[in-house]
Symmetry: C2
């Protein structure tokens, strides 16, 4: 790669200041026509490539917006991103995406990479709430770069969020299983440092309580959002003295693994065990034994997050906007939980 010619090089050649070169290149009216032409000619001779980003450094706008998600290979996050793009593209913003693979070090690297790419804002679903990343996240807020959490959030001053009512979702899914006759309902939860999983679990517990069912800690398994993890969870549950007759999984992928494992062992779904997933991934409706799931309105979530960003970026007042938008979940009741 050849060395890039900078405005400093042009300035040196012409014995003028870099600021003058910059103004000339940007057609600033303060610069005389003679100087402007001289700078343009010299820049052309030196093979200088004007850098739009350098311009944006001065204007303070790159029109790039960064999105950080735990993973892109989930229909949920892909749909949120589609919602964000649908809202931002018509007003001239481009969306650039990074994924963390649920790794907090990568999350912090991604934030830095996006800030270095001069994004005008960051919309993110956090991978975990360990305090290790707090200073990096705070750094975004301090730099006055609008930051909006979606789905997975953390309580931080100055940060808006768009989430669904996960408590309600957990409550309704569990209630559905109870109505189908399940008495011993297991719950596959996620990383319990994240609010979404805490709230889904609370909803699950409240539904048990409201229906006079006993909460059994053995029935709650922290499970990764993968098919294999769902299989392993079922193996453990079936090893209990009284295995469950219903499973509410906080992940569709784990629900699918659970179903595969149950069926391989000759356990009938929904007759012996009802299963309810979360996320409404497309495969849940593609299966011959379609999987009940919670829809999180990802498109709507993305659009709302984008709207909150636009409000913030266009906010010229000194008053900071901090919004908490909570969307309602919707049950998609399918074969895997329908006995009646």
């Amino acid at each position: 790669m050849s060395d890039k010619v900078t405005i400093y090089d042009i300035a040196k050649t012409l014995n003028i200041t870099a600021a003058t070169v910059s103004r000339a290149l940007n057609n600033n009216p303060k610069i005389s026509e003679a100087t402007r032409l001289l700078v343009l000619e010299t820049a052309a001779k030196m093979n200088y490539k004007q850098n739009k980003l350098a311009q944006s450094l001065r204007s303070g706008k790159s029109h790039n917006v960064g999105v950080i998600v735990p993973r892109i290979d989930s229909n949920f996050f892909a749909s949120v991103i589609r919602g964000i793009e649908e809202e931002l593209r018509p007003v001239g913003y481009h969306v650039i995406i990074t994924q963390t693979n649920e790794d907090e070090v990568r999350q912090s690297e991604n934030i830095t990479a996006l800030l270095n790419a001069q994004v005008d804002g960051i919309l993110m679903s956090i991978s975990n709430v360990s305090e290790a990343n707090d200073h990096v996240i705070n750094n975004v807020v301090k730099q006055n770069v609008p930051l909006i959490f979606f789905d997975r959030k953390k309580e931080m001053p100055g940060v808006s969020s768009v989430t669904i009512n996960d408590f309600e979702a957990g409550y309704l899914a569990t209630k559905n299983l109870i109505e189908q006759g399940c008495k011993r309902i297991a719950h596959l939860t996620g990383d319990l440092s994240l609010e979404i999983f805490i709230n889904r679990k609370k909803g699950y517990q409240k539904a048990l309580l409201d229906n006079d069912l006993v909460f059994n800690e053995d029935y709650v398994l922290q499970t990764k959002s993968s098919v294999d993890a769902g299989r392993q969870a079922v193996q453990r549950l079936l090893g209990l003295n009284t295995p469950p007759d219903g499973i509410f999984s906080s992940s569709d992928f784990a629900a699918l693994g659970a179903i595969q494992e149950l069926r391989e062992r000759g356990i009938k779904i929904p007759k012996d065990v009802c299963v309810f997933g979360f996320g409404n991934e497309p495969f849940t409706r593609f299966m011959e034994l379609s999987i009940s799931s919670v829809d999180q309105s990802p498109l709507e979530m993305g659009r709302m997050a984008a709207k909150v960003f636009l409000e913030q970026i266009n906010n010229t007042s000194k008053v900071k906007i901090e919004k908490k938008v909570v969307l309602n979940p919707e049950l998609q009741i399918r074969k895997s939980s329908t006995r009646i």
Copy 2:
């Protein structure tokens, strides 16, 4: 949002050049200690935030690499991106992703957005080969930003590519259907301006020819990569006087739609019609009636594309590297095409 303090503002305050401010902030040894301290103090007082990107503009390295894909909600592209990340992250590069939704205008916008974000290279799977984008793509090459195509490529001087042997893939999938007794094999193809779809179709035709089967143009339908498009294609095929007894789809999503439509009409798979997909999306193996598909080694493809990028970025010679890597496809033969 408050106006950003720039090095120009600091220079003006101190009545020195912006270049001096920049050198002082970057601890350039040419700057005296007194000046350095003065600049640092003034910068701190003025609440100046040093911009790493501004630094990278000078060093010519942002350590961000841009990836452009038609869509992120496909396991294939998500896996390629994972491969790219696995190779690049250990050597200090961050991957930022954009999607085009198969739209050439967005593709061009994405290239510009990534160049503006100062990426050190672009790895892309093109959305179509219309010439409208040629100047934007050429612009990348001209700016000496390494550009690598993966999966969907276009022949352009100076651009390397990593693809699979799509002809071979089409040939082998069709051959499998013939071996299972199919005599009238339809082909759901994609955008025939793209090499990958041309080559898959050529492989399909060659397999028919080698096995003395007649090529029937009515059996080739240009079909979008979606479940609905697959359903519609089957509706058209079943309207023919002699409907097909085998379908080779260039898309797993279209294959799934085809299967759903066939089954709803009481047509048995694989007995009446065998179906072969392409891409090895996870749902193809999750289904009770698992779907045969072509695996494209996406992780390996991503890793190779990243390696080619690293070779180019680290190439200090004047000789340009132009590599064409072709990976072998692998059939995943499952229930949807297995009669025997």
